[in-house]
């Protein structure tokens, strides 16, 4: 079935390969190779959306990535509902379903269009001025309502089911843009043998050769030449050709981000293909061949559906075989629109009139149009368009005033000229320069190894473009070490040539009328808004932009920025370069989160670290918690137990019999070498030289500022060998801290540092029965209290495998930490577990571990300290070697603020009501009756229910805490004030007798 506006003799699509699609539930037929826009236009559908603010009916403006109006929602299934897809970019596939956006109840009857009538209220800056009072209403009332009324598509509400991929690539010459310039540059570079990547955002290469019917290269039509050249390049081993690939960002050191749309154009992509692929390319030289974007004319009602860029209408005709109307008008300020009129006329479309703002232009296209019998009006302006859901007429007037004449049309083709696409050049930190003669910004000063060629460089005409691009490609290749080229430069036999045009508002835009002459279609910014911004005091273009939102929509002002700038400059009475250009920022076109995130989501978002004993804990039904990247067993619930019941049982069992705890995640670093003790002296506050081999010591590490950085038990295995433990979360930074000092401050010390965290599995066996459980499995270690006292370490064997057996305790009970090679971790655990069963042992998790250590007042660095706590604040002054000449932090500890009175000190807190458990982080005050804001003197750092103590316990940092023993303080909470008593930090077994119990 042929669609009404399809012209069989025009375009390049095969008419037999049809594709069915729907728009707002209505079924249509298109052709494979169509975009959604061309397929809709082929069916006579121009009305495709409603505008952002005024809900005005909108049609297709362009035929490419710059499209501001034709944004639709593509619905593949329940989870795949992509909003804000440009219909001019979306390729048609059989079964495509699209919906219009920002309208209710329907596209042709939209209640929100009342905003258009009320538009005097909604002019520039209206949000800032109108919704000031009452302040609280902004969040609760104004913002939600505005967001509901203004807007684009609807975000999908389900997780993205597609997958995305990511590749890194290096090349000698990266060519961005696959029109005549890009292809010529790529050919020149590729022929020298260097590695070339050529990328273009379109499905087919050719750029403006898609519509330039006058282009002839190497004896063929321009588009046919492009396809032949691409076929040749694709066949070369040193060339990678990427279509449907947008270079969206140009970063430092010639690093360019590109997104390849792999499967959005396919009917059934299948699971093998990613939806998109992110390319991160490092190039020796980048050739920018990004072309130019046509500007619209700024006149009243220039946004009516059916009014579009002349080049777009020409693309729809010459590439897709679609006539955008049957009786079209043309409104232009440069030659290029004539070519569109000529092509349409030749295809059988009536051209009602060409209205040219220029006075007496001459040139071959004008002669040709006249010869075809097209009416041409010089020195006249279209002052407004008629029609609402579709343009119905254009009203013409001499540009200096005079009689009006209204011409019926069903489409208007407009062209104010072409803006070089300097986006990527500008992103590369290059500086643009304004050419006063051609009224355009072109690349000026370069900051990176790149070169602009063709239309984006302000080069006019196909012949000059190909010459420039071919030379640039050859030079880039030569600079990258390429051989002398064997190829020949493409010969341009036919060329179209147009430049110039106009910037800013045309006569139909005002100056002081209330008409809507749109500058920025997507954000509904009119010429009047920009003038108003200047009148209200905005002087910088950056302020004008933010006040009016001109250029701030998802199209980033590709069609609007230059008009907006010119209107502001004119209103200010300043030349354009003095007003300045807003900064171009990545991304060039919107990039999906999926492409950036790629595979790094779900389980692959961050590595998960599991201990050797993890499978056992999992089989026992442990509940796990995340500690950094580690999964740690939190508690081991038995049938019917909640967390509290399980933790209470585990805590009591450890103190009654024994408990097994997987401490493998503890950071472990081996410090080895003749100067190992000297190094330890410098990195920790404690003295180490006199620690005998076989003994352990609790060590504190400071930063230079005197604050606690990490802590852990250190065992000396030999005079030149220390087994250092760190906090679980601190292991990497402690290693970095040690390496930093060893490499840069103390390089004279003969020491090696090795991370051994993952080499040793650690099984803590704690409790009165712990020795009975371990002893039967150990060989070669005397387990008596005399031979192996508290805080000692021995090497021997357990279950036949090597062990470093520490006698140490983080529970206050007799305790051991059994280190075995990680490969044997689970086997040794299971052997100990079997022994433990004979003695009533339990497995306990991190929560019970926390409670048990808090019962003894043992601190956790990072929970009870926060980077502003000194050893003295934490009650650990005993661990600082007073006779030492130097250690990291020694000077920091004597800073005036660190020795001042009234510092926050760690103390214990007991609630007056023993059943009340404080909230960690809760603030503490002296007088609960004082006025708000109260003076806060500290906060709770650790708080638990202790089944062993039969009451709640807490640790807190309190100003002057140790001088407040026995005092009553208060913790104000939303449900009332909690009374607490300041106590020592040890809540259980204050004498420490149980360490040998």
């Amino acid at each position: 079935m042929s669609s009404a506006f399809r012209i069989p003799s025009a375009g390049r699509l095969s008419q037999v390969r049809t594709a069915r699609f729907s728009f707002d539930g209505q079924s249509y037929t298109g052709i494979e190779g169509d975009t959604l826009a061309s397929a809709l236009l082929a069916n006579g559908v121009h009305l495709v959306g409603r505008s952002f603010k005024y809900h005005r009916p909108r049609g297709v403006l362009s035929a490419g990535a710059e499209e501001p109006n034709a944004l639709v929602q593509i619905v593949r299934d329940d989870a795949r509902k992509t909003p804000n897809v440009r219909a001019t970019v979306q390729e048609l596939y059989d079964g495509l379903a699209a919906n219009s956006q920002n309208r209710w109840p329907s596209l042709s009857f939209d209640v929100g269009a009342v905003n258009d009538l009320a538009s005097p209220l909604f002019s520039a800056g209206f949000y800032y001025k109108t919704f000031m009072w009452p302040k609280a209403a902004w969040k609760s009332l104004y913002e939600p309502k505005i967001r509901e009324a203004a807007g684009l598509g609807v975000s999908p509400d389900k997780p993205d089911p597609d997958h995305y991929s990511s590749r890194y690539a290096h090349c000698d010459v990266l060519v961005l843009g696959g029109g005549a310039a890009g292809i010529a540059a790529a050919l020149a570079a590729a022929e020298t043998g260097v590695r070339v990547i050529l990328a273009d955002e379109q499905a087919e290469f050719g750029g403006s050769l898609r519509f330039e019917s006058g282009a002839k290269i190497d004896g063929q039509g321009g588009f046919a030449w492009a396809q032949a050249a691409i076929a040749k390049l694709s066949a070369m081993d040193n060339v990678r050709v990427l279509s449907r690939t947008t270079a969206f960002g140009y970063y430092a050191q010639n690093f360019v981000g590109l997104v390849e749309r792999v499967s959005d154009h396919l009917k059934a992509p299948g699971h093998d293909l990613p939806r998109e692929r992110l390319w991160q390319v490092r190039a020796k030289c980048v050739v920018l061949a990004s072309g130019a974007i046509e500007r619209h004319m700024v006149f009243a009602n220039n946004d009516r559906p059916g009014i579009m860029l002349a080049g777009a209408a020409r693309t729809f005709l010459n590439h897709y075989g679609v006539a955008v109307g049957r009786n079209v008008g043309v409104y232009t300020a440069n030659d290029s629109a004539y070519a569109a009129a000529i092509d349409l006329k030749k295809a059988g479309v009536n051209v009602a009139a060409i209205v040219d703002l220029r006075d007496n232009p001459t040139g071959p296209v004008i002669d040709e149009a006249r010869a075809l019998g097209i009416e041409i009006n010089f020195g006249r302006a279209v002052i407004r368009a008629g029609g609402k859901l579709r343009v119905s007429s254009m009203t013409v007037q001499p540009k200096n005033g005079g009689g009006e004449r209204t011409i019926p049309v069903d489409a208007i083709l407009m062209s104010a000229g072409w803006t070089p696409s300097v986006h990527l050049f500008s992103q590369s930190r290059g500086k643009v320069a304004f050419n006063d003669e051609t009224k355009r910004f072109v690349p000026g000063t370069y900051a990176q190894d790149c070169v602009s060629v063709g239309a984006c460089n302000g080069t006019d005409g196909l012949s000059a473009t190909v010459d420039e691009a071919y030379a640039a490609g050859a030079k880039a290749a030569r600079d990258a070490g390429g051989k002398t080229a064997k190829g020949t430069k493409p010969k341009v036999d036919g060329s179209e040539n147009w430049s110039r045009g106009m910037l800013g508002a045309a006569p139909g835009a005002g100056p002081d009328t209330t008409v809507k002459a749109f500058v920025d279609f997507q954000n509904d910014v009119t010429a009047k808004d920009i003038r108003q911004a200047v009148h209200e005091g905005m002087r910088s273009i950056e302020h004008v932009k933010r006040f009016t939102t001109n250029g701030m929509a998802t199209d980033q002002g590709k069609t609007s920025n230059m008009h907006g700038l010119a209107i502001a400059a004119e209103t200010l009475g300043k030349p354009i370069p003095e007003v300045g250009l807003t900064t171009f920022r990545a991304p060039y076109t919107p990039v999906t989160f999926g492409a950036i995130v790629s595979h790094a989501r779900g389980p692959l978002f961050d590595p998960t670290r599991k201990t050797a004993i993890h499978p056992w804990a999992e089989a026992q039904g442990a509940v796990f918690e995340d500690v950094g990247q580690w999964k740690r067993a939190w508690y081991f619930p038995k049938a019917g137990e909640d967390m509290h019941a399980a933790v209470d049982r585990e805590c009591v069992a450890v103190r009654t019999n024994a408990g097994l705890f997987d401490a493998s995640t503890l950071g472990k670093i081996e410090v080895v070498g003749p100067d190992a003790a000297k190094f330890m002296e410098l990195l920790y506050t404690n003295p180490w030289e006199k620690l005998e081999p076989g003994r352990c010591r609790y060590g504190i590490m400071l930063r230079e500022d005197g604050f606690i950085y990490d802590d852990g038990v250190v065992g000396r295995l030999a005079p030149d060998r220390f087994h250092v433990t760190t906090t679980t979360g601190g292991a990497p930074r402690v290693m970095n801290h040690m390496e930093d000092y060893l490499q840069t401050e103390f390089p004279h010390l003969n020491v090696w540092l090795t991370s051994i965290t993952e080499q040793w599995a650690v099984i803590a066996v704690q409790g009165p029965k712990s020795r009975d459980i371990i002893a039967p499995l150990v060989e070669g270690i005397d387990m008596s209290d005399e031979a192996l006292p508290h805080m000692s370490v021995r090497e021997g064997k357990i279950c036949g495998v090597p062990t470093r057996l520490f006698r140490m305790s983080f529970t206050g009970e007799r305790g051991f930490e059994v280190n075995v090679p990680a490969d044997y971790g689970q086997a040794v655990w299971e052997a100990l577990w079997a022994e433990g069963q004979k003695h009533g042992a339990t497995a306990y998790g991190t929560e019970a571990m926390h409670v048990l250590r808090a019962e003894k007042g043992y601190i956790i660095v990072g929970q009870d300290t926060d980077g502003t706590v000194t050893p003295n604040d934490a009650g650990l002054d005993w661990a600082v070697g007073k006779k030492k000449a130097d250690f990291v932090g020694i000077r920091g500890l004597t800073r005036p603020d660190l020795v001042a009175k009234g510092r926050k000190q760690l103390v214990g807190l007991k609630t007056k009501d023993p059943k009340v458990v404080l909230e960690e982080g809760a603030q503490i005050v002296e007088d609960p009756k004082q006025a708000i804001p109260m003076k806060m003197i500290g906060h709770v750092t650790s708080s638990y229910w202790s089944q062993n103590c039969g009451r709640s316990i807490a640790l807190a940092l309190v100003a002057g805490g140790r001088d407040r023993m026995g005092d009553t303080l208060y913790v104000p909470m939303p449900n009332g004030v909690i009374e607490v008593e300041v106590t020592g930090m040890v809540f259980f077994d204050e004498t420490g007798g149980r360490l040998n119990g």
Binding site: Y251, Q280, A447, D449, R891, R895
Partner: protein, 103 residues
Amino acid sequence: MLLIRCPYCEEERPELEFRNAGEAHIARSANMAGESDDDFEKFFFIRSNPKGIIYERWRHMHGCARFFNAVRDTVTDKFIMTYKAGEPKPSKLPKNSNEVVAK
């Protein structure tokens, strides 16, 4: 993403392998405990934060793990040179890559 030349590996590697470690050439006193408050303040808290050339430390964290020094231009983000830890602050820099390439 920047490419950084590790002076130990003698290779340009992607920024992902490296970690910045703050300003370079700030020596820790041999008599740390005896430093005055003013000197300690200068040593620990005061940093130059220049617009332009900065001498800074980097670590080839996911490579050879060595700390080294670099000269970088904070305006262009360009690395002018890198050199090994312990080597003196270069008295003369190679041609300033801050210069823009005129085409």
